[in-house]
């Protein structure tokens, strides 16, 4: 099989996360592929809607759950618009997994703080579930998640689950003006809430994903809290076509995001030219 050939996958379930974001649960049509397909938290895949093309998203489900693969996407371009037209029972393509992953081995035995904004929760959710499925391996787990408004929060059912767990500290926030009368969470931008939550930096890894502006203002807060750049992880999303280090699209300076990323530490990020 040549490297550009996707596997076929069936859409088992659709979840409307927000008015423009959906999660698809996929299973491989070929049982052998399903058997062999393994990945690590943070890796991405190329999803095909035949006729529209391929697009790149992280795998949003954790590798600890092997029966299916999930992806969450926002309808913005040609392929995601086509993906929105896909129904339960339809077939799409999937190839991967590609790229590097979050160093869960290193995080084991430590505290983990997850910070996400908007659809940026997708790659983080994969790690969160991975950690929660092996909860005994990690110390404190803190999740700080924000979106523009209440209706822009994704994975609402899971947020409820996390909120209900005693072994997870969950902070939910919406931007000022994005709250509803029933809203019980925080109101404020993610960096502000991180400051308020003030997770201890001692023996702690941070996983930060979200819009560039959120990351830009969150990193200094983490620094102030004492997080070394080497312990802060994030993912980059550059435009990609092949995912295989060939097509030349995702270069940032000497880095191929598809091969050297998508997971980077804040230290690595700072060394890169600002071309992302």
């Amino acid at each position: 099989m040549n490297i550009y050939q996707p596997h076929l996958a069936r859409v088992e379930e659709l979840v409307e996360e927000t008015p423009d974001t959906r999660t698809l649960r996929l299973t491989f049509k070929d049982p052998r592929v399903a058997e062999q397909f393994t990945f690590k938290a943070g890796q991405f895949a190329e999803y095909s809607v035949f006729g529209a093309g391929e697009c790149t998203f992280c795998i949003a489900s954790p590798p600890t759950r092997r029966d299916y693969v999930e992806c969450s996407f926002k309808t913005v371009g040609k392929v995601t618009t086509a993906l929105r037209g896909v129904n339960v029972g339809d077939t799409i393509g999937l190839r991967g997994p590609y790229g590097n992953w979050f160093p869960l081995d290193q995080m084991s035995g430590k505290n983990v703080v997850f910070i996400a904004g908007g659809i940026g929760l997708a790659p983080v959710r994969c790690v969160i579930w991975n950690v929660l499925d092996e909860r005994e391996k990690y110390k404190d787990v803190t999740i700080i998640y924000g979106a523009r408004s209440v209706s822009d929060l994704v994975y609402k059912r899971e947020l409820e689950q996390w909120a209900g767990r005693s072994d997870v500290k969950l902070w939910q926030t919406v931007d000022p003006g994005g709250e509803t009368p029933e809203w019980k969470g925080e109101i404020g931008f993610v960096p502000t809430i991180v400051e308020k939550a003030a997770p201890s930096a001692k023996d702690t890894f941070a996983v930060v994903c979200g819009p560039p502006i959120m990351i830009k203002f969150t990193l200094p807060v983490l620094q102030k809290l004492g997080f070394p750049d080497e312990n802060i992880y994030t993912t980059l999303e550059n435009r990609m076509k092949c995912g295989l280090g060939k097509c030349g699209r995702c270069n940032i300076g000497p880095v191929y995001v598809c091969k050297d990323g998508p997971v980077f530490t804040a230290a690595q990020l700072k060394a890169l030219p600002a071309e992302y």
Binding site: L14, V15, E16, E17, N87, V88
Partner: protein, 166 residues
């Protein structure tokens, strides 16, 4: 608020062409002709032809647009790309345009387009232009029959359809 759903049925596109179309003049060849027509005159005229039970060639698939002024030459190219053997563009007679001047602009554009396609080697008979008013059901049937006859004579548009190996 999250809802698991089987989602609504997406509308199925009307097939433009049989993907299995084979080039080469076939016995009893029935051309596929795409008609881009304006909403106000020709479409209504064609409707009249139908309700008046006027017999005409069944080879034409119609695509209704607001005005001939909205018909981009790209549409014609797309029709050929997707397997059309001929194309009809039809709208309101001069001075009858619902939008006053859309058909005058279209007339200029298509005059150039037609000459250009001819220069590139596309037989002009594959392209038919007409003015058909809402009351000209009869004329529409003649345009359809005439275009069908001329495209039949030319055979399938194998040259275009073989531009990329299927």
């Amino acid at each position: 608020m999250s809802t698991a759903t089987t989602a609504q049925q997406k509308p199925q596109a009307e097939p433009l062409a049989d993907p299995g179309l084979k080039p080469g003049v076939a016995e009893g060849f029935e051309p596929k002709i795409i008609a881009f027509v304006c909403n106000w005159c020709t479409y209504t005229g064609a409707d009249l032809a139908g309700t008046s039970r006027i017999q005409m060639a069944p080879n034409v698939r119609m695509i209704r647009l607001p005005c001939t002024g909205r018909i981009d030459p790209l549409f014609v190219i797309k029709a050929f790309e997707r397997g059309a053997d001929g194309v009809i563009v039809s709208g309101c007679h001069p001075a009858d345009c619902h939008y006053a001047v859309g058909n005058y602009h279209a007339r200029r554009r298509f005059a150039i387009f037609r000459d250009l396609l001819e220069f590139l080697g596309i037989e002009p008979d594959r392209l038919t232009f007409s003015w058909v008013s809402a009351s000209e059901g009869k004329k529409w049937s003649e345009v359809v029959n005439d275009a069908t006859q001329r495209v039949k004579k030319l055979g399938p548009f194998a040259a275009y359809q073989s531009l990329v190996d299927k």
